[in-house]
Amino acid sequence: MTEMNFAEALVDALCVAMDADPKVSIIGRGISGHGAEAGADKRLVPYGDRVLDPPTSEAAVAMLALGASMTGLRMFHHFGSGVFAFEAWNQVVNEAANARYMSGGRLKSPVTYCMFHGLRQGGGPQHSASPHGAYAHNPGLEIVMPATPADAKGLVLTSIYSDNATVMLVHPTLLALRAEVPAGDYRVPFGKAAVHRQGKDVTIVALSRQVTEAMKAADILAQEGIDAEVVDPRTLVPLDETGILASVKKTGRLVIADEGPSFGSASEIAAMVAEKGFSSLKAPVARVNRPHTPVPFSPEMEAFLTPDAAKIAAAARRTVAA
């Protein structure tokens, strides 16, 4: 265990994988973003041309990664912002997602597509998307959203060693988050939620940066005598339905905190519980999402749209009171 920030944990995972396996190969730059944590990427320099800095051709580069993965390389391709990856939508959701299944299992596609998502302050209408729900909607992809430095490391390593195409979404505001991270080849299993806080009154299922906000909300709620359980699915596909249902069974109440708009991840989690955990529910499900609108640049407007601890706490209060 060493304390490091999320950006360092991401890069540490890549170094561990490259050291252990000559077939691991990386595409992209700015894996640690463009902010104060960007220096973490320096650890990649000694790996030379195992880290490819590609042209601004997202579609062809995504296919380069996929095609190379079919020859046996384990590819990790960072797109930068998730909206840049939109240029490679067909390549990720229709080519990579289907590749293994449609070959009848004859091909493997060990490729990981990583990208930033989220309301990041000043991203404006074109740079603020949180597309994890839309990716999860396309069968064949594994969808991964680390919320802590340790999970960042453990999920990167599991992604790299998965023989399926994986999409990982990172919130840039998490890059600075510091915590203990296990050393070496640490892997976090897919499909296993993390319960960050036990509670009995209400379940808060939170994704990515909203895990931090949910933990803050739980602190606020605790002062009011509301005992919240905070559950982070960590992977959307596969989704730990059992873990989520068990928590809702205990608390009877569900709040979902996610930056994505409607028709997305929070919708799926709510629907799944309304189907399979209906008898546990004592109150309406509540979603804390960004409203269904393009994202304005103006800072106060953006803040108005952004899910946060206060909004999560308010939803939890309503749910508990219902």
Partner: protein
């Protein structure tokens, strides 16, 4: 080229033709067989290129994929079975006619998205280069691929990184019909040329011309000099975009190469002047490389093999329907 090689080209083309004719028969017999994009008329390009490759060279193909797989020796029973959605298909029935995958003979993913094959082949080339393989990658694609931005991006990536990839473009964008591409370039090959990729253009109906050019191109790529763009100009077979299964030019009778009285119908001209198989047969006869009987014997063997493969496939079982949502691990 010696006799054996020239006959091998003939046999390879014929294998493709007989295969595709049986695909039409299947499409007539089974209503669920997907829309067919047949390789008839393009055999000169496919056979000429594929016989210049090594077994471990990695190819990616488009929707019009059967010809290449047959040329490189994929099991035709398994191919037919795939087209029929059977469990014994190359892809266990999951892929269907557009996605036939056979890594054993060098075929990785086949994409039915225009621009898919070229981009994946660039990826294979990257993977092969990083793993210091002697194999090269091949992108089989049509002129339509250069309409798509990803086609251009892929050419650029290959040129930038000097990747070992042969771009094998089949250009059937001939005037008269709606072309499969709409490019403002005066010549398709100006696009790769602008990106500093060496190019050559051959007549796709002349299998020996294609083969010679492909051998040169493959040698260039294999020697580490980077990509090469080989363009085979083709005339579209009248049934090449058929929605309903049909034999517009009829079943090919090899004897048409010496007895033109057998040729008739609306497309007699195509058969007489264009058909790359008959054309090659005529050359072999004219240059006394083979006799009529030798050619007929090849045909008999190929047809028998093909029929047997098709019939076996037709008898093979479907996968268990309820396994549909099971993923491969």
């Amino acid at each position: 080229m010696n006799k054996q090689e020239r006959l091998a080209l003939f046999e390879c083309m014929l294998r493709i033709r007989r295969f595709e004719e049986d695909v039409i028969r299947l499409a007539m017999a089974y209503d669920y067989v997907g829309r067919q994009h047949l390789y008839i008329g393009a055999e000169g390009a496919g056979a000429g290129a594929c016989l210049a490759l090594h077994k471990d060279d990695v190819a990616h193909t488009t929707h019009r994929n059967h010809g290449y797989l047959v040329a490189r020796g994929s099991d035709r029973m398994a191919m037919f079975a795939e087209i029929l959605g059977r469990d014994g298909g190359t892809n266990k029935g999951r892929g269907g006619p557009w996605h036939i995958c056979d890594p054993d003979v060098g075929f990785h993913s086949t994409s039915a998205m225009v621009g898919g094959s070229i981009a994946l082949a660039v990826g294979s080339a990257y993977g092969l280069m990083k793993q210091k393989s002697q194999a090269i990658a091949v992108a089989h694609f049509g002129d339509g691929t250069l309409d798509e931005g990803i086609g251009y991006e892929s050419l650029n990536l290959a040129s930038l990184l000097k990747l070992p990839v042969l771009f094998m473009c089949e250009n059937n964008a001939k005037p008269g019909q709606r072309p499969s591409s709409m490019l403002a370039a005066k010549h398709l090959s100006h696009v790769p040329a602008a990106l500093d990729i060496p190019t050559a253009v051959v007549n796709g109906a002349n299998v020996e011309e294609v083969h010679a050019a492909a051998q040169k191109a493959v040698a260039h790529v294999r020697s580490g000099k980077g990509p090469f763009f080989l363009q085979a100009d083709l005339e579209r077979w009248p049934g090449s975009h058929q929605v309903h299964a049909a034999f517009p030019t009829g079943v090919t009778d090899i004897a048409m190469a010496w007895d033109s009285s057998k040729i008739d119908g609306k497309h007699a001209d195509w058969i007489k002047t264009y058909d790359p198989i008959l054309r090659h047969a005529k050359t072999l006869l004219a240059e006394s490389v083979a006799t009529q009987d030798e050619l007929l014997a090849v045909d008999q063997r190929v047809t028998a093999d093909t029929t047997k493969a098709r019939e076996t496939a037709e008898k093979s079982p479907f996968p268990v329907a309820s396994d549909a949502a099971k993923q491969f691990a």
